[in-house]
């Protein structure tokens, strides 16, 4: 079974802090994605990566950056957390560019106070 893990299930941070959310997949997938999920807005793509050291902006990249130094690991960074970044963050991975199914991690619920 594909396994996608995220470093924390729940996280509480203060405004202005730097926040790291980590995602690891164990199936040698090429592609990895970061989404945020908010009530009434659905899942929105923040950043994605099709290869090591490669990144592409999604639909809402402002206030975020990412890092992919190893194939299995994709990190989301909030340089200076703000209250409007309080959300559920979901990581996903998929095998290749012609495979559309994405496998999701359990999510991290981030609260910024």
């Amino acid at each position: 079974d594909v396994k996608v893990t995220q470093s924390s299930r729940y996280l509480v941070k203060r405004t202005g802090e730097k926040v790291f959310l980590e995602c690891v997949q164990d199936m040698d997938h090429e592609n990895m994605f970061w989404y945020r999920q908010d009530p009434g807005l659905g899942l929105r793509l923040i950043y994605f990566s099709y290869d090591v050291k490669m990144k592409e902006k999604g639909d809402i990249p402002e206030g975020y950056s990412v890092s992919r130094e190893k194939k299995e690991r994709f990190s989301l960074i909030l340089e200076s957390a703000s209250t409007n970044q309080t959300s559920m963050y979901l990581c996903a991975s998929s095998p290749g560019t012609q495979t559309y199914e994405q496998y999701f991690g359990p999510g991290t619920r981030l609260t910024v106070t």
Partner: protein, 111 residues
């Protein structure tokens, strides 16, 4: 801009009822449509549809795609309380290699 619209946004049914969930889309260079089920955790994959008119079936769940009218439906027959969840529809675009998700449909099945 790619768009996926799901309807209704929420519904409440009783066990044993049959439900139909709708998903319409506007996507550049359509490649596939996916359905996910999300309980209080990560979305889990249900179906992927790429061809019109071919029904995908898994137990009490089935789904079909109409590429001419740009929509898909997900049917659940003989609903059970365990079917209570948010059902997400997503469409993959070959133009930007991204999945665009709808806002989801919240289904509540009452005993």
């Amino acid at each position: 801009e790619d768009k996926v619209v799901q309807s209704p946004l929420s519904l409440v049914v009783h066990e044993g009822d049959t439900v139909t969930l709708n998903c319409s889309y506007e996507v550049t260079n359509f490649r596939s449509l996916l359905w996910y089920k999300q309980e209080k955790k990560a979305p889990t994959f249900l179906f992927m549809l790429t061809s019109s008119g071919i029904e995908k079936k898994s137990g009490r769940l089935s789904s079909i795609l109409d590429k001419k009218e740009l929509f898909s439906i997900l049917n659940i027959t003989a609903t059970q309380t365990g079917d209570s969840a948010v059902y997400l529809c997503a469409v993959f675009s070959g133009a930007n290699s991204k999945l665009t998700f709808g806002k989801g449909i919240t289904l509540s099945v009452r005993p």
